[in-house]
Amino acid sequence: MDSVQKENILDVQKVAMVFGGLMALSNLNFQVKQGSIKAIIGPNGAGKTTLFNIITGSFPPTEGRVRFKGQSIEHLKAHQIADRGISRTFQTIELFDNMTVLENVMLGCHTRVRASFMASGFLLPQSRRKEKEIQDRAMKILKFIGMGDKFNDPADSLPLGEQKMLEIGRALASEPELICLDEPAAGLNETETHLASSLIKAINAKGVTVLLVEHDMKVVMNISDEIVVLNYGQKIAEGSPEDIRNNQRVVEAYLGSEA
Amino acid sequence: MTLRRISIFAVICLCSLGLLISCAEKPDMSGKVAELTKENAALKAQLAKLTEESAKPTGTYKVGAIFSATGRTSFLGDPEKKTAEMLAEQINAAGGINGRKLELIVYDTEGDATKANLHLKRLITKDKVSVVIGPSLSGTSLAVLPVAEENETPLISCAASYKIVHNEKTGKPYKWVFKTPQTDTMAVEAIYTHLAKRDLNKIAIVSVTSGFGASGRGELIRLAPTYGMKIVADEKYGPKDTDMTAQLTKIKGLSPQAIVNWSVGPTQVTVLRNYRDLGMDSIPFYQSHGFGSRKNIELAAGAAEGVYCPLGACNIAEMLTPYDTQYNVAMQYMKNYKAKYNEPLSSFGGHAWDALQMVAQALASVGDDKAKIRDYLEDNIKGFVGQHGVFTYSPDDHNGLTKDAFTMVIVKDGDWSRSS
């Protein structure tokens, strides 16, 4: 039991979500193994983003629990969960468009390095030091995602592809153990998509567990170790890419919709 | 970045510079100077410049005035400003004082303590006036009082509160501050005397939550015991309220023998209407001297019939007989004011008239030395016949009036009539 706890970094237990009488998720169970890449797929309205919002604390589930590293987090606020080591990107890009690229990533470091209001007000040496530290860290990450040269551009001036990248970079800045990517490849062209998937792999290689929602089956199939399929808020299948490819219910679920 | 910031400052500096020049060119604009002096601006500009360089007395007697001419309390300052400007005009038309023109410099406080303070300092240090009349409000007067004392400049306030001429610490008046209006104390005394005469002693107070209402209310409560008055209700309403039925209903429940209302502006009419609507006619209704304009009787549309209020002579000029001491001044003032501005006289313009006339008298006899003017006011204003009574200043009394300054009048057939 204990050993299972260890290797499952995230454990979603009997999670249900009801919006005004509408069942968005019902009795959902699945685990994410430490250091793996897990994909959640399913037709639109299957409840994928809702699940993300629950895991990252946008709102608590109507029922069920979410355990992160063995502790239940479903009752925590978003920023507390971020502190615990879960970070995310958004389906509809949510960059801070009133900041530069660098500042966006620097804000990502917020959870790790913090200067108090007073300290920064009086420009105490410690706050200066921290600021410097944050900057270096952010630059490193920008180089890692291959945007080191754009650090001073306003975030909203970037093309869509790079905005997606930057969101991932910002999420990385908080040094998460689990990163939740909401459709990282949506709206990207061939090359960009390829870049994105290799970046995800690289992130995973650094030991960060990845949970992603994605419609682009190519991406999903070639990067994920495990896949969960949702339909109408319920899990209809779970397993390795191969299993899912040959799973009858999945094909049915997708008939008429994408894939 | 830095370039951008610098350019901002450049822009700002240029803007202000432009405005400075514009006002340096025509200082007479900086303060609405009485009509006559507006002529030959060029000459005046030079004069003004001269005075700025050296505080030598110029060809004119400079008198400053700060009234709340606009804003929420303009009902006080507006008639005061008009009156003062009219008077200055007349004096200058009649050849000025000792052959010198009277230069009246008026600033608008908008009833704001900060502005009053700034403007008084400016009048004293920049315009170099020798005496100041106003401000219109008790609040603003109390706000500027320290400035007048500090700069040893005589100030004749046109506001009611007795605190203006009563230093709590010394129990004596402030050295440099005088005032012309009757205090609320006198208005209250007049009303209470009238009530006592009719042995009505169970009264209800209604007042507006503004400076005017509050100080009146304060005096009503303070003096009640002296006149054996029992206050059964003490209700308030906002200066912009649309309805006072609730307050009056409560009062009705307590069935007092008389109601005293202390407010100005539209509310004192609305409250009368509500009082009629509630069929409380059998309770005598007393208004403060704030009611002292015929416009209010018109607005009340009949509801004012039988209402009592204490008024100064200038409001009831027609009712005075040539035997009344104030007959001449009051008639004169009323005629001129109506002729010039064709609007009914309010209770407040007269305060400015009294203040400026005293100043004129002082200037005429001692010139424009501040200290001399102050002493003159204190020692030589004896039996001065003004709009709001006969003034007699003394070291212990910088208001100079008694409660006889008020006459109790009753509204009859849509007009004032004297009430025994």
């Binding site: 800045a173 | 610098i6 300092k121």
Partner: protein
Amino acid sequence: MLRIGKLPITIFAVLIIIFPWIADHISAIDHYPDIMVFAGIYCLIAMGLSLLMGYAGQISIGHAAFYGIGAYVSAILTVRYGLNPWTGMLAGMVVAAVVALLVGAPSLKLKGHYLAMATLAFGIIVYIIFNEETEWTGGPDGMSGIPGLSIFGFGFDSVEKYYYLVWGIVFIVFIFTINVIQSGTGRALRAIHSSEPAASAMGVDISRFKVIVFVYSAMLASLAGSLYAHYLNFINPSTFDLFFSIKLLIMIALGGMHSIWGAVIGSGLITFLSYEWLHYFGEFEVIVYGAILLLVTIFLPHGLVGVPGIVKGWLRR
């Protein structure tokens, strides 16, 4: 965008120092330092508000209340209890902070117009209290005889001295605020302004930051109130009414919300407009005031600090 170089700050400091000297040598403006004292007092409030509104994106139409709390606490403690003015000043800031905490915590959960109404209501309620609690506040007639400020026998009793006191404080607060803006705190605030979900997902405790800034701005307003009370030696409620809260909004909008410089410029400009320059328009004052306001909101969406940007835009063409 927000990095503020040393040069403009130095210029700012120099301007502050030499202004009285300049004014003294130009007869037309030799009374300006007096007005500048009030400009400085309003500037203190405006800086706090611009942090709250421009950076954290929260509206307050009730800051006149904190301004008033500062003034009244100072006045009551010094006049009624004979305490030292500086103590009064400190006490005022503490009281303001506590009130801001109590009101801010629930209010700042509100959004947009609802927050505007809540703060508006708060402001009016406090104003009514100033008017009604006569035995404490003196009611609408206000309180007079408030002592001036002095330290170790050195009294700030002349306009010039008080000018340097006020603007010294303004400069310190200015530097402090800039540091905050350029630190992680400022970044977090802008993040909240830009996207609350993203900010919280990045670990920013939104409500905490909102409240911190609200309290900070309240304390600045209170400090300004005390400075006002001890300069004028008199206060009455009408100074702290709804219209002043609105005036503060106007200062910030006019100067430009998104820059701390906007607060400085806006407060200075409005002060001089309403206490000095608009007098030349006599009765038309109100209308000119309204017109200026409208034109700025229409043509300078970023306030006066946006002007250089616009000018640059023209030059490029």
